[in-house]
Symmetry: C2
Subunit: 377 residues, 2 copies
Amino acid sequence: MLPKLGSVDAAGSVEAVGSVGPVGSVEAVDVAGWSCPLPLRDHPRVVMGHGGGGALSAELIENVFLPAFGNGPALAALGDSAALDVGGARIAFSTDSFVVRPLFFPGGSIGDLAVNGTVNDLAMSGARAAWLSCAAILEEGVETAVVARVARALGAAARAAGVEVVTGDTKVVEAGHGDGVYLNTAGIGLIPPGVDIRPQRARPGDVVIVSGEIGLHGVAIMSVREGLEFGVEIESDCAALGGLVAAMLAVTPDLHVLRDPTRGGLAASLHEIASAAGVGVAVRETAVPVPPQVANACAVLGLDPLYVANEGKLVAFVPRDRAEEVLAAMRAHPLGAAAAVIGECVTEHPGMVVARTAFGGTRVVDLPLGEQLPRIC
Amino acid sequence: MLPKLGSVDAAGSVEAVGSVGPVGSVEAVDVAGWSCPLPLRDHPRVVMGHGGGGALSAELIENVFLPAFGNGPALAALGDSAALDVGGARIAFSTDSFVVRPLFFPGGSIGDLAVNGTVNDLAMSGARAAWLSCAAILEEGVETAVVARVARALGAAARAAGVEVVTGDTKVVEAGHGDGVYLNTAGIGLIPPGVDIRPQRARPGDVVIVSGEIGLHGVAIMSVREGLEFGVEIESDCAALGGLVAAMLAVTPDLHVLRDPTRGGLAASLHEIASAAGVGVAVRETAVPVPPQVANACAVLGLDPLYVANEGKLVAFVPRDRAEEVLAAMRAHPLGAAAAVIGECVTEHPGMVVARTAFGGTRVVDLPLGEQLPRIC
């Protein structure tokens, strides 16, 4: 279990610890000769958690980037990708940088992540990824053979996902800066007509389905990076979900929400959906598929599997009357064989995720502050 | 003057020093337990020049990335962006990462570069940039006020360029890795009907026009980074060129080639065009607009202004019969006021750039091996 990161007040609303008002309400600080408003009173400097996909990331985005970009509401309303109209078609556009350590891990590499991460962000709007950009920031002194191995992994993952790398960039930074290879991909996908999948569309009554066993990616990274041994090699679930989503859309274009629970795990994804749609989410903890090796590792490390990152799983909010068919279609797909209903969307406790425990109790599933283990993607 | 980086053989073809055959023709090297072909015999490790936009960058891209991505010919044929068909429209797609040091410099910042660099890459295919992604890799410990200042610069540049940031990502790496802020942007632009601008379209007879004074960005970065003083503050020319290109296209959609001479300067851009189209380029050195402060700085530092980076200039190959009108349209635009004809495209010495010097002699303008000063963008 993570330390509690928020508190529930009497009215049931959750207040994140460390959140502050918008930029401009606080004192100025002098930076390199410029007077700037201090954006985050509790965080005058960036901490690792700002990259963890939890409350701290949200704070940085909402208080620093969105006001600066001047299109806060539009950008904030997006899920993992933007939907844009081009010549009568609708495209999805998304980007991610990848700074995972180590570059190669059981079940994948930074190259696989760079493809699958962006392909999956696009798939979560129902889009079939078509084109990727690939930009590398290399560290002076890294073996070119390592770069080649990363590039080959990326190319193989792109072919497997049916997406083409069409443009790129390479920069080099001095030895000691960077960590061998950082990658960025941006992707463009085509959204099929009639599809409108976004967090805001979650509705009370929706059935919540997860596509398979959770926690594998995060535990795989921990096992190689922290030198931990769990008696059995645990492989990342890193995979491209475009085919699985297409199989689900073949049942009905009216899927309400799709989300890939990466940084912050299932907890962060469910929390974001509950918050975006103003609904409650009720999860049956015993229904969440946690493989034994993840359960064991989490028990040893004192972690909650709900907060551990995945790279080849999705969570879907599906209208109740189509849920059975969608679940069957998922189970018929190799990447959804272990799909399971884990809960439902409710009118109670809007904005909150509540889990019923194995012992019949309930607990609030908070938005994590940061990531339990940084740099997992 | 740069050290000579290539040699011209008797037949007039240029051979780059350090270039090797494709991956697979050389011995294997063991990397982290994997057996990998050694991709670059002369460079078993990445050097700064691999990020310089010259011959070393090309070698890395051609020998490592393109074979791995499996679409070498398609990707290699591209200029700075990919042209893609979507729903009856043609879009351009491009990406760049930005690792400039320092983050703020006279005339701009990494935030301005991140917008203008990608907007300009799109503009070089005639596309009007519409949407940007923005991904930041932050270093733990960097002041959030610095991040906010970068974000505001980026937002202001986006508004000035008429482009919208629609999707983003934030990652954090440990203190000591990274350099405060690295940025990546990818951009989507719309290519007007009838426009087909790419390096392969250069034709003998084309007039070569540069949009203004060269060398300002590179010298501005040198002046602040290397602690050099040239008696006068030199500002980067960092600017978005979409409006200038639109003004040129209003004269004729039949512009043959556009290129923004960033890393490697005008020399690298002209060289790439000559090579891509299999034509010669003849430049009159005295016609190239070099402002006095750049000339002075280059004289002190022993640099050639043709190799110094620009961030708000373009070079155009224009059919001779429309060149006068296009030049007039450029001069009527604030970013093209100092536009000048600097040479022409010829049938002689295909693949080579030759400059006539002030003294009546000629010299071969080679593709630079790397960048004179790394990390200028």
